[in-house]
C-alpha cells in the first residue's frame, strides 16, 4: 500500500486496525481450504483438457489400466 493511501486511511475518522485474530483465521481458512481447492480445480481442468487432446485410439489402453 502506498504511503499516501496509508496516511489517508489513518486520518479517516473511526479508522481502525482490522481485528488481527479475524485476519489470521481468514488466512488459515485460505491456506487450509481455498488454496488446495484452487489447486485441485486447476489439476482437474488440466486433466479434462488433456483428455480431449488424446487421440481416441489410445483410450482403450487407458481404460484397461
Amino acid at each position: 500500500m502506498n504511503e499516501a493511501l496509508k496516511r489517508y486511511i489513518d486520518e479517516l475518522p473511526g479508522s481502525t486496525q482490522f481485528d488481527p485474530a479475524k485476519l489470521l483465521a481468514h488466512y488459515r481458512e485460505v491456506t487450509e481450504h481455498v488454496l488446495p481447492d484452487i489447486e485441485r480445480k486447476q489439476r482437474e481442468q488440466a486433466l479434462l483438457n488433456a483428455e480431449y487432446r488424446l487421440p481416441a485410439v489410445i483410450r482403450p489402453d487407458r481404460e484397461r489400466s
Partner: protein, 487 residues
C-alpha cells in the same frame, strides 16, 4: 453503383432479388433479413463493386485458382432508419435530423460475397436492429466510409462461413479477433485467410481447412494473434462444476468467448447475456450462490444466423441448441490475468465472504448471489469518478490512490431481493495478477457504510477498516463491460 430500397415492411427486402446478380444468392439473404431484422430499418443502400478485404484475402488464395471464374468484387448493404433517404441524382443522403448526426441513424453494413452460396460476408450490424435481441452485449465502435461520410456505430463482427475453404470455427476466431482489432489498438487486423493459416504450423492448403478445426487449433490461432487463451472444459452436462460460473465471469468481463458444442459439431462466439426477469427467476437455482442462476439466455454470434442470437440457458424445445450444449470455451485473455475465474469462485464463496460477513453489510449465507468479472483499474476509477454522487467520498479517494495492477477482479455479493432491484450488499476488488498461491489477493472490500483496505505490501497482508459517510443501505450493481442491446 449506388441504389436505395425503402423498407416499409419485411417483404420490401425482396427488392434485393431484382437488384442483385445471382452470384450474391439474394433469395437466401432476403429470407434471413426478413426473419431477423426488426422494423427499425427503413432504408437499405446497395453499394456495388465494393472491394472487401476479407473476401479478397480468400479470393487470392482460393477462388482465383478455380476453373470457374469468380468475381473479385462484392456488394455492401448499408442499413438506415426512417429519418434517412437517398437522393440518387446527387448521390447524397437527406436526413430529417441534422445531417452531421447521420451516424445516429445508421445501423451498420453487410457485405455480400459473389460465391453463389453462403454469401454473407463481413457484417457489422448494430444489435438494435436484430429482432428478438435481448440483454447486454459486448460491442465496439465500428467505422464506415459511405459517400463521403464517416459513420460510426456499435457492433460485433460476424459473417457466414465460406464452407468450402473456412468453417464455423475459423469464422468464430475471425469474429473475436476482428472485435479485438477494432476495440484495442495493440491488436492488428487479421483477414480470413490469415486465420486459416494461423490454425496450423504450416499452410495446409487445398481443402484441408474446410475439414474443420479442433479446439487446440483455435487456441493456436488466438496465441498467434497475441492473446493468452485459456481453454475451459466442462466435466459433464450433469456435473458442470463451475464451468458456467467461469463462462459468465469472463463474458461479463467483456471477453468474447469461442464456444465449442461437441455434439452439435459447431463453434460459436458468446458475446452477451440476458438476466432473468425478477418475476421469472428460478425459485431455487441449482447453485444458490451463482449469478449464472440468474441468467435467462446467452447472446451468441452463430455463422448460420444473423448476429446476436439469444440462446436459452436450458433447452426450451424451440431453440436449436441451448447453453447446456456448450462443452468447452476459449477465453482469449490479455497477458496479465494470472488469477483465473475458477480461483475467484473458490475464494469468493468461502473465505472471502466468511471474513466480510463479520465486518461489512453482507447478505445471509443462504441468500447470497455472488457475481464476479474483470475490469481495468482505469475503468474502476472511471466508475468511481462517475459515481461520486452515489459513492462515499472516502471510498472514491481511496480507489483513486489504490496501488493496484492493471486488471482487477470485482466480486459483488447480493441478497436475492437486492439482486432483483439491481443492487448489491458489498463489493470486493481482487488482484487479477495475483498468484493462485496468494493467501490475500484482495485490495479492498466495501459495503455502503464500511470499507476494508488491505496492505498487500507486507506478508501476510494487514488490513484497515473505516466507516463511510453514506445514507444508502446498498450499492448499485455494476454494469460496465457490456452494453444494453437496445441503446
Amino acid at each position: 453503383m449506388y441504389e436505395w430500397i425503402d423498407i416499409r415492411e419485411p417483404a420490401d427486402f425482396a427488392e434485393l432479388t431484382k437488384k442483385l446478380d445471382a452470384d450474391f444468392e439474394a433469395p437466401r439473404v432476403v429470407k434471413i433479413l426478413q426473419e431477423g431484422i426488426n422494423s427499425s430499418v427503413a432504408g437499405v443502400l446497395i453499394e456495388r463493386e465494393y472491394i472487401d478485404k476479407d473476401y479478397r484475402s480468400v479470393f487470392y488464395h482460393f477462388y482465383a485458382k478455380m476453373g470457374r471464374p469468380y468475381r473479385s468484387d462484392c456488394v455492401r448493404l448499408h442499413f438506415f432508419d426512417s429519418t434517412v433517404s437517398f437522393n440518387a441524382e446527387e448521390l447524397d443522403f437527406t436526413c430529417t435530423d441534422d445531417i452531421t448526426k447521420l451516424s445516429d441513424h445508421y445501423f451498420g453494413y453487410m457485405v455480400l460475397r459473389p460465391t453463389s452460396a453462403v454469401t454473407i460476408g463481413r457484417t457489422a450490424l448494430s444489435p438494435r436492429v436484430r429482432k428478438d435481441a435481448l440483454g447486454d452485449s459486448i460491442v465496439s465502435v465500428h467505422k464506415a466510409h459511405v459517400l463521403g461520410y464517416t459513420l460510426k456505430w456499435n457492433a460485433f463482427p460476424s459473417m457466414d462461413q465460406h464452407a468450402d475453404i473456412v468453417v464455423c470455427a475459423h469464422v468464430a476466431c475471425w469474429s473475436i479477433l476482428r472485435h479485438y482489432s477494432e476495440r484495442y489498438s495493440q491488436h492488428r487486423e487479421l483477414l480470413v485467410h490469415d486465420i486459416k493459416v494461423m490454425a496450423h504450423a504450416f499452410d495446409p492448403g487445398g481443402l484441408a481447412p474446410a475439414r474443420g478445426l479442433d479446439i487446440y487449433q483455435a487456441e493456436r490461432v488466438f496465441q498467434a494473434a497475441g492473446t493468452y487463451p485459456l481453454v475451459i472444459t466442462r466435466k459433464s452436462k450433469e456435473a458442470p462444476g463451475d464451468f458456467y460460473d467461469q463462462l459468465l465471469a469472463y463474458l461479463e468481463s467483456g471477453f468474447p468467448l469461442f464456444v465449442e458444442m461437441l455434439e452439435e459439431v459447431h463453434a460459436i462466439v458468446a458475446v452477451g447475456r440476458t438476466w432473468q426477469l425478477a418475476e421469472t427467476a428460478d425459485a431455487a437455482p441449482s447453485n444458490a450462490s451463482s449469478a449464472w442462476g440468474k441468467v435467462a439466455s446467452v447472446t451468441v454470434i452463430d455463422d448460420n444466423k444473423l448476429p446476436y442470437l439469444s440462446v436459452p440457458v436450458r433447452d426450451d424445445g424451440q431453440a436449436s441448441y441451448s447453453a447446456d450444449d456448450f462443452t468447452r470455451f476459449i477465453v482469449p485473455l490479455p497477458e496479465k490475468i494470472f488469477y483465473p475465474a475458477s480461483a475467484v469462485a473458490s475464494y469468493a464463496r468461502t473465505a472471502l465472504s466468511d471474513m466480510l460477513r463479520g465486518c461489512l453489510d453482507m447478505p445471509a449465507e443462504d441468500d447470497m448471489v455472488v457475481r464476479f468479472f474483470v475490469m481495468t483499474i482505469a475503468k474502476l476509477r472511471e466508475y468511481a469518478r462517475k459515481s461520486k454522487t452515489s459513492l462515499p467520498k472516502e471510498l472514491v479517494i481511496g480507489i483513486m490512490q489504490l496501488e493496484a495492477a492493471q486488471f482487477v477482479w470485482v466480486v459483488e455479493f447480493a441478497s436475492n431481493e437486492q439482486w432483483a432491484n439491481g443492487q448489491v450488499s458489498a463489493r470486493a476488488v481482487l488482484d487479477a495478477s495475483a498468484s493462485t498461491k496468494d493467501i490475500c489477493p484482495t485490495w479492498l472490500a466495501y459495503s455502503a457504510k464500511k470499507v476494508l483496505f488491505f496492505d498487500r505490501s507486507i506478508v501476510p497482508a494487514d488490513a484497515k477498516f473505516a466507516p463511510l459517510t453514506s445514507a444508502a443501505s446498498a450499492l448499485p450493481r455494476m454494469e460496465q463491460n457490456l452494453r444494453p442491446v437496445a441503446s
